[in-house]
Subunit: 213 residues, 2 copies
């Protein structure tokens, strides 16, 4: 969901507040009234919900220049919680303004729909992979390219979230994820040091992400 700088500028014109939020805070919670879309300017936010048994179900992670809050467009209330993982600077874009300005500039309106579509399609990325190894590879490449846009080095980055968050997002256990990371390191595709990841062999990692072994 990274958005074009030009698109972002346009959206910025609609911004009322820029909030600064410490890690551990919630930007919104399930059931909250839908009032705005949020654009992350710095930091990282996790959107999640809980299943019947109380297990966390991670829907996605949002970093710089990405949008969240579309989950509430239909039922008018948020369907998930948004937790700050790293201290955040967030633009608040009141939905009312989008609707109002959208009527005046209808190119803006279609832009919002495009962004919305892009946001949702990201949700499907990791569900696509068949095996756990493939999903892990997809995740690593996806988060790498997103973090690179916010100033990370070419092939080195630091995960803003815990292993447990990642494993919940991928629909596998933390233990399995840990084993897979070790495996990927052993065969020379990545270097892992806690949350610091270096992609050593991008080509082969991409091949695994595509399901080719």
């Amino acid at each position: 969901m990274a958005i074009e700088p030009s698109e972002l500028e346009r959206i910025q014109s609609m911004v009322r507040h820029v909030q600064s939020l410490p890690s551990g805070d919630h930007l919104f919670r399930i059931g909250d009234q839908f009032t705005a879309i949020y654009a992350v300017r710095a930091g990282c936010i996790k959107s999640y919900s809980l299943d019947a048994v109380g297990h966390e179900l991670v829907h996605g992670f949002h970093v710089r220049n990405e949008l969240l809050g579309f989950d509430a467009v239909y039922p008018d209330r948020h369907r998930c919680n948004a937790l700050i993982l790293e201290t955040c600077s967030v633009c608040v874009i009141p939905y009312r303004d989008i609707a109002r300005l959208g009527a005046e500039f209808h190119s803006l309106q279609s832009q919002v729909m495009r962004l919305m579509s892009r946001e949702f399609s990201r949700h499907l990325i990791c569900a696509e992979g068949a095996g756990a190894t493939q999903r892990t590879a997809i995740f690593l490449l996806d988060i790498q390219s997103r973090l690179r846009q916010q100033g990370a080095a070419k092939d080195e980055f630091r995960l803003p979230m815990s292993r447990e968050d990642v494993s919940n997002y991928l629909g596998i256990t933390a233990e399995t994820l840990s084993r897979l990371m070790t495996k990927l390191q052993k065969i020379g595709l990545i270097d892992v040091d806690r949350r610091n990841i270096r992609v050593a062999d991008c080509i082969r990692l991409e091949r695994i992400a595509q399901g080719i072994r």
Copy 2:
């Protein structure tokens, strides 16, 4: 994605064509230019793509009063194929008209966004379930409630798609699905006769769908 009759009337006013399509035809294919959103008036459509190995990946099924085509809003080209499973009557709603009319009546615009949001959120339903049994139960209850709205009996319905389609949608094999259907029948939750399903114990089926055993 069933839409309110009143909403549908409004959208109908934008309709250019009503197409009639025989089963086996494609409504659109991957890569096709995005020109319109489609509303199903009768029949059933499967949206799917193929993975790297050539396996079918079913994104969803669309029955009466449901919309499809939002998959192309962002990249301007369709990301999946739409195959007619049962002879269809389909309203074609040119996207240009939505944008134009949306600018005039901005309540319509937010309605379209709501529908879009509703459409996408459905995609997540079956991904949520942890085990194969749970996903199967979720699917049966979901498709039951949707088919009921198009005139099916209270607890009896006929699946418009094959076991293979369903299993691809749920991310399990056809064999596993078959075994699970048999299991659900043995413990008295459903009656299965080929594609004809009767929900015998809705309460317990819902409990399984929620992950409570």
